[in-house]
């Protein structure tokens, strides 16, 4: 059972992000919207890791960017609970008001090659947030950067080097050091380990787990890799075409999914055990187009349990008896298969 989070860090409710589509004529009238994120609500409790999974184009990254206010949400509230107890709605703050909060909400990006400026030294990259927020400068800044680098497993003297002198895993460590520079509370990890080789991926995952402990961090861990999410997340939210279809504690979601999409997704993950070749559920067709989603439940054209009702009525995310949530008309009634433990 999911307890009501004692101290939420962020409460997202009714978050929408639509990207307009313009016509071709001279007037360039708006002819539609890509509903990248459509009415998403969830809570992040202090110290927890929420995994956000789904296929490409489902809106995972857009949610992350709305939370960091890289994007201005189209609608919805992002209630951020500051350490002093004050609650601010991130969606309504302007640039100046956001600045102190940007110290506390940080991002780690997927591609360690394009997310570091090749013309800046590691000292500049990791020290930049400290300078922008006037935390320190000069010798103190260098000491602090050296400390941060050592904390993420790099040698302090590397700070004069440029990113090209580092391997992929080391660059990702630099990106993590940059995110840690201002004592953040919430870190949005957007496919943070997806570009890394398996042997290095484990190092970074373990580093993220250690840092969470030591700095009391909260993670929103966005990934398409269900095995990685299972390893790191306490709770998991599954997205399909801009909407959350299921939210539950990791183990419950993996062993006993309540949404047919979660079931199909889990069965599609290749298992590194030749004796457990899964009976895969092969989904027919393709992911729906978020600018022209199907009627009713967005998943119904591919769902093997779909009935008449699913074609007309859009199911909302409802809370089930045991505190977990699923957006399916038949949640709790279907006998779905999770993974065997």
């Amino acid at each position: 059972m999911i307890q009501t989070p004692i101290s939420p860090v962020l409460e997202v409710s009714g978050l929408k992000k639509y990207f307009p589509i313009y016509g071709k004529g001279i007037l360039q009238r708006q002819i539609g919207d890509v509903k990248a994120v459509d009415d998403v609500s969830f809570t992040l409790a202090a110290g927890e890791t929420l995994g956000l999974v789904g296929e490409s184009g489902c809106g995972k990254t857009t949610i992350g960017r709305c939370l960091a206010r890289v994007y201005q949400p189209s609608q919805g509230e992002l209630l951020y609970h500051q350490p002093d107890g004050q609650v601010r709605d991130l969606a309504k703050l302007n640039r100046g008001q956001l600045k102190p909060i940007r110290r506390q909400v940080r991002m780690i990006f997927q591609d360690p090659f394009s997310s570091l400026n090749p013309r800046m030294t590691v000292l500049d990259i990791v020290g930049d947030p400290l300078k922008v927020h006037n935390v320190c400068s000069g010798k103190e800044l260098e000491d602090r950067v050296a400390n941060l680098l050592e904390r993420v497993g790099l040698r302090g003297e590397y700070m004069r080097r440029y990113p090209h002198a580092f391997s992929g895993g080391q660059r990702q460590r630099i990106g993590i050091a940059r995110a840690l520079a201002l004592d953040p509370r919430l870190i949005i990890c957007d496919e943070a380990v997806s570009a890394l080789d398996v042997s290095v991926r484990a190092q970074i995952l373990n580093l993220l787990l250690d840092l969470r402990q030591d700095f009391n961090l909260t993670y929103l861990f966005i990934s398409h890799d269900l095995s990685v999410v299972e390893y790191i997340a306490d709770r998991v939210a599954v997205m399909y075409v801009g909407r959350l279809v299921e939210v539950a504690k990791t183990r419950e979601l993996y062993t006993n999914p309540q949404h047919p999409y979660t079931e199909a997704l889990l069965s599609a993950v290749p298992n590194p055990d030749p004796d457990r070749r899964s009976q895969r559920i092969i989904l027919e067709g393709e992911v729906a187009d978020p600018s022209h989603p199907p009627s009713g439940c967005y998943f119904h054209p591919r769902c093997r349990y779909a009935q008449e009702r699913c074609k007309v009525e859009l199911p909302l995310l409802k809370t089930l008896a045991d505190g977990r949530q699923a957006a399916c008309h038949f949640a709790g009634e279907l006998n779905l298969n999770g993974i065997r433990v």
Binding site: L209, V269, N271, D273, R280
Partner: protein, 350 residues
């Protein structure tokens, strides 16, 4: 059974002569592929998986070159109707010795050995319809008319599960989704009935549900066409689900080759063991921390002396592993491994 073999790679060395230095991308690879088998070639980026595949097709271009080794392709000569491979006459050719632009190589490449690539958007020509691209291969290798080639293209598009193939045949790659493009690539590769299909990370760019569709399709088509597949991937899950045999590569060498069960249940090489311990397995969450492999893959310009894995190996033996590169050792259970721990003279068994 040696007469069962389709492809044998012996001591293959492919090197790139760059301004920055010599890159020994493939450094003495030995690999065997049996008829009808699916062999997985796994390893981390930069270990030489793709260069091995390119060497087989003689597609390595300057500044790279195959400098040593043999690639023996046991091709079945055309038989009378029925075409039973056992009774058919088998001719062995060394692909490494052929002229890359010569007639003989062109007859093999694309026809008997076909390849599919990771990123279909890059490897398909965006200027031509998928039908044109499939017909091109058919017209090159078979003596058929335009009309027949087109019919065949539609037929094969149907086989790979593209709906409305008769319409889609005239579409350009950008009009298709990622999964559909990869199906079109597979159709192109299969259009000439290859005996060996090399698939280089065929599902890496795809989502898991699409990946499941494509893998299912490949295995289904393999049964139908009876071809061998060399599946190159870094995803051990994909290997476990699809392959019969596995070859693990590290820094240009095959460090271990065996059946899929042997590799996953009792890996013999410390690198294979470490690799398997470092991946999260679905269903074993919170079973404990992952054990990463310390350090990083060495820079290709500065290969370590001795065994290439020794700087990261937990069972490294001083004055042996850092001096001499172990030979390929055949174990009793039929697999081969390159590690001193398994050398009978060392007396140290795992």
């Amino acid at each position: 059974m040696s007469d069962d073999l389709l492809l044998e790679i012996k001591g293959l060395k492919t090197q790139f002569f760059l301004d920055e230095g010599l890159v020994e991308a493939v450094n003495g690879v030995n690999l065997k592929i049996r008829r009808g088998a699916t062999v997985g070639l796994v390893g981390e980026s930069g270990c030489g998986k793709s260069v091995t595949a390119f060497s087989v097709l003689n597609l390595v271009t300057r500044p790279g070159r195959v400098v040593a080794g043999q690639i023996l392709f046991h091709r079945t000569l055309a038989t009378a109707a029925g075409g039973d491979a056992r009774g058919a006459q088998v001719e062995t050719i060394d692909l490494a010795a052929l002229d890359p632009d010569g007639k003989q190589m062109s007859a093999v490449r694309g026809k008997e050995i076909a390849m599919i690539f990771q990123e279909p958007m890059v490897s398909l020509s965006m200027m031509h319809t998928i039908g044109f691209q499939i017909m091109e291969a058919i017209l090159l290798h078979f003596d058929v008319s335009q009309q027949e080639a087109r019919q065949r293209a539609i037929q094969i598009l149907n086989k790979v599960g593209i709906p409305n193939a008769a319409e889609r045949v005239d579409m350009y790659p950008f009009q298709l989704s990622g999964g559909m493009r990869q199906r079109a690539m597979i159709a192109m590769a299969l259009s000439c009935n290859p005996t060996l299909l090399i698939a280089d990370e065929p599902t890496t760019a795809l989502d898991v549900t699409t990946q499941a569709q494509i893998l299912e399709l490949m295995l289904h088509l393999q049964k139908e066409f009876g071809m061998s597949i060399l599946l190159i991937t870094h995803d051990l899950g994909v290997v476990a689900e699809t392959c019969d045999e596995v070859a693990v590569m590290y820094l240009g060498e095959v460090v271990e080759q065996g059946s899929v069960r042997q590799i996953f249940h009792s890996p013999a090489h410390p690198y294979t063991q470490a690799l398997l311990n470092s991946i999260p397995k679905l269903g074993s969450s919170k079973a404990g921390r992952l054990t990463p492999i310390e350090g990083t893959v060495p820079d290709p310009y500065n290969r370590p002396t001795g065994c290439p894995f020794h700087p990261r190996c937990v069972r490294f033996i001083k004055d042996l592993c850092d001096q001499d590169n172990p030979p390929q050792i055949e174990l009793n259970d039929g697999r081969s491994v390159r590690c001193w721990l398994h050398d009978p003279r060392q007396g140290v068994q795992s």
